[in-house]
């Protein structure tokens, strides 16, 4: 029996879809059988982030309305073993699916997959209600900004009210050099304010944009990107492994160390 994990945030544009894609790919690389559900009906995007937009035949709404079997709507990502996407419908709206239907779908997928990730739409209305309906766990994505952290707090409250206990926080797009300058909320600041456990921190990384341009999630690229490494670590934490958090604050150069000594940058 697998597990359903919803990726949510409240605020839009903080990286839910990118996170879902990368966690899915990272998980599949560890030989787990993974399904990704795009629950953002009307604004589907997980397909393009995954580079699978040309392979859609059926979607989530077709499945719940019985026009096809679940298996027919699942797109297999040929680049990885055991990674599947259930795309959202693009020409419908959130009311096309009910929480009860989502719960049933998640139950069905759990039978066959080790992990099911649900990419939740922004907002706290029906799309959110649907996305969390079948979830066993939640990962809340936030960025180190006042608006995103505020919305994350609201989501924590709503998840609690819905009986989804122990959500974990993913801090996205951290810019270590800004944190050092005192111009960005630090990990500890955010954790102190939200009072929930951290699942991981993903640094701001140009490579995310480049890889999204190509439709190839960074977690798939073994070498190079710090963001990809961060995602792979998060995947292992989800599986219950203890993985130390990456240190983004190493001083790489002598100049950097000198600057720190006199108190500038570093």
């Amino acid at each position: 029996m697998g597990e359903v994990i919803v990726i949510t945030s409240g605020k839009g544009g903080v990286g839910k879809t990118t996170t879902t894609a990368n966690l899915g790919v990272g998980m599949a690389l560890l030989n787990k059988k993974v399904a990704l559900i795009d629950a953002d009906i009307g604004l589907r995007n997980l397909d393009v982030v995954m580079g699978l937009e040309n392979r859609i035949v059926y979607d989530l709404v077709d499945v719940v309305e019985g026009r096809c079997r679940t298996r027919q709507a699942l797109i297999r990502d040929k680049r990885y073993e055991n990674l599947y996407l259930l795309p959202a419908a693009q020409t419908r709206d959130k009311s096309a699916v009910s929480p009860e239907q989502m719960r049933k779908l998640c139950e069905e997928l759990k039978e066959e997959f080790d992990y099911v990730f649900v990419d939740c739409p922004a907002g706290i209305e029906q799309g959110f209600r649907n996305a969390i309906a079948g979830a066993d766990r939640a990962i809340i994505v936030t960025t180190p900004e006042v608006s995103a952290v505020r919305d994350a707090d609201r989501i924590i409250g709503l998840l609690e009210a819905a009986g989804l206990r122990g959500p974990r926080l993913l801090i996205n797009r951290l810019r270590p050099e800004m944190v050092k300058r005192g111009d960005m909320l630090d990990i500890d600041d955010i954790l102190e304010i939200l009072a929930i456990d951290l699942i991981g921190v993903v640094p701001d990384d140009e490579k995310i944009i480049i890889s999204t341009n190509r439709g190839e999630p960074v977690a798939a690229q073994e070498n190079g990107s710090l963001a990809g490494q961060a995602y792979r670590n998060i995947v292992r934490r989800i599986m219950g492994e203890e993985v130390p958090f990456l240190n983004f604050y190493r001083n790489r150069s002598l100049l950097g160390r000198l600057k720190k000594l006199i108190g500038f940058g570093g």
């Binding site: 006042v146 006199i262 500038f264």
Partner: protein, 88 residues
Amino acid sequence: MNLKALLKALTGKQDSKDVAKERLRLVLVHDRASVSPEFLDIIKEEIIRVISKYMEIDEGNTVIQMHRSEGTAVLEANLAVKAIRRTF
């Protein structure tokens, strides 16, 4: 104190992240305490109705509010008791 900190102390300028943290803290105090007033009014009326069976409540002096503490929501009701009914 290093040079940067000294400079900051002299100019009296706060790091922008400290400003952000302070503002967040304030806004969350508000957010966390706010359940819709209508909803709270309904609860308030009902609580008063139940308690009134046993005690005489000063309705004007009754405060019902929601807040969050250590990860759980707390509903706090402060009811001023005018008298206890002797029938019980």
